[in-house]
Symmetry: C2
């Protein structure tokens, strides 16, 4: 007699039929209770809930919604979990989906479009109600399968390009131009740039560079790495740039971590920011406020982008919003000593 795993006489794991039997109702009534739809009397409601609890029944969502792309699941693919920007967007997405009783299923593309396509293909096997992708650049195969399956898809971070259905983000182009304009107005003419190969950073810099060069400025040095950079590399590359004889007046960084690293170099070397050298970052991460010197940066509404995208995906009546572009405002934060 191996009743070791046997919780009771019912099937293991228990099904709605088992619950129905215990509660003395039909399986369909149990289904109604579990989903909270249709008419159920208070008496039956309680009996079913008690029965379910007593035999350890857990609702099985795989069985019912087998055919349609309409499960309370949202596929989410981001390039990386190591980058604060994406985890903040994710946080907004996660919170919002929670409020709408949806679960995110995640994938990380590692900044590879091919990987992204693979992951999306895999995620679609769960017939999710929607999909959230980063950026507007995707493989043809990915676009095709999205069109064929008709999954509702939101693209986040970037709005400079054409969306599959809806995009939520900022104009990278506008951000680059705005920063260029601001720094030129401050009287700076000679710039350096530190970044890594990122699609959105590139869009930003292209706009930045064009504006600078069209208005009498010059970008005298650039350091563009193939691999992901963080604060530490920001410090090193800044040291590298400032060690030469051709010193810039400003260094523009692809993100705040790099810029903060640059600031650390300046502090360690006793350089005054922005008098000896001005620094500009991107994102407006909150930790900047804790630094001894406020770095100039562009504040982006990362959490809100996640919230809005998730809300759009959750909204059953938003199909008509197709080809919708939700461009978020950015704010240039001026540097200075705090």
């Amino acid at each position: 007699m191996s009743d070791k795993n046997q919780k009771n006489q019912y099937s293991n794991p228990p099904t709605m039929h088992d619950v129905a039997h215990v509660a003395g109702v039909s399986q369909m009534t149990v289904s109604r209770v579990m989903r909270g739809t249709g008419y159920v009397s208070n008496d039956v409601l309680k009996r079913v809930q008690d029965a379910a609890r007593s035999i350890g029944y857990v609702h099985n969502r795989l069985a019912g919604g087998m055919s349609k792309y309409d499960n309370p699941l949202i596929g989410v693919v981001v390039p990386s979990l190591q980058n604060r920007v994406f985890t903040e967007v994710l946080s907004g997405i996660s919170d919002t989906l929670n409020n709408n009783n949806l679960r995110p299923v995640f994938g990380v593309s590692e900044y590879s479009l091919e990987r992204e396509e693979e992951i999306v293909f895999d995620l679609l096997s769960w017939r999710p109600r929607g999909l959230i992708l980063a950026g507007l650049e995707h493989t043809d195969g990915l676009r095709r399968i999205i069109e064929q399956t008709g999954v509702k898809t939101a693209e986040i971070m970037d709005v400079d390009g054409s969306a599959i259905a809806a995009s939520f983000g900022i104009s990278q182009k506008a951000a680059g131009e705005q920063m260029a304009k601001h720094l030129l107005n401050k009287g700076y003419k000679k710039f350096a740039y530190i970044a890594w190969l990122d699609e959105r950073a590139k869009k930003r810099f292209d706009a930045f560079k064009a504006y600078i060069e069209n208005h009498g400025g010059v970008i005298s040095q650039t350091r563009i790495s193939q691999k992901l950079l963080s604060m530490k590399e920001g410090r090193e590359l800044t040291a590298d740039i400032l060690s030469g004889s051709d010193k810039p007046e400003v260094i523009y960084y692809a993100n705040d971590d790099l810029a903060a690293g640059g600031l650390m170099h300046c502090i360690a070397e006793g350089l005054k920011v922005p008098d000896d050298i001005a620094l500009a970052g991107f994102n407006g991460l909150s930790f900047l406020e804790a630094l001894p010197v406020q770095i100039t940066t562009t504040k982006t509404p990362r959490y809100d982008i996640g919230v809005e995208a998730a809300n759009w995906i959750s909204d059953k009546n938003s199909e008509q919003w197709n080809n919708h572009i939700h461009q978020f405002d950015i704010e240039l934060i001026e540097g200075g000593t705090t």
Copy 2:
């Protein structure tokens, strides 16, 4: 003639039968191709793949694995996505699950055990193969449902306590003691502590405090906040502590962000670290390396914890490892100027 027999015009969305018809094979053969199991000739393999692509078929995992808790899905619940520690663990989990062809389904508990239970209940409705939870503290209801369903569960971050099946993390107690010992050896006697109400930080501090007080030291001030703290609050609370007359020799922080905030205060005020005031953090986040002064901290293998937990969950033959505790080594990093 019922139109059921006339599946010549393919259903929308397409099914394995549709693919089978196009490829001229049986549905079962398509199933074998999709899952890459059993025997399939190269000729058929290619025909099926082409057929699937041509009609835009996407594998449907909801249909087959309807009954068992054995879907290629892992439920993951973390307290927060705003805390770098968890996103790094998540990163390890995500990478490893990817390698094992498993997908994470996420939930965020917001440091609430009740919320955690709700989320787990919801995640189980997808019949995941496994579950990864943070910490060893859970509600009774959660423990019960895990036992009843028999889902393989890994608990991460902490090993000071008893695990449901397996735990992967560090000994918070040992970390607190190690730091206490180190600082006492350095000759410090008077300590302050800055933290927020976190289960694991509390375990650490309890051990830290006990050791300090049993060895002639004193904790003269503490600042314990109810809400999440970051670098900025670290700076403010440090200013607060140092503004009084009863100045400590060392401040121990619950994490590196707080400690870095403290360092920023010292830099802004021209205080020498560690001569005027010593600072100790926890985690060993990589950004510390970029700071002008290396803060003393405890380095924890966050990514690796995620990797190992995910590996254990992925391993079909790891059931026998029940009641397995995987305690990771920690490393005390001494501060100093870099």
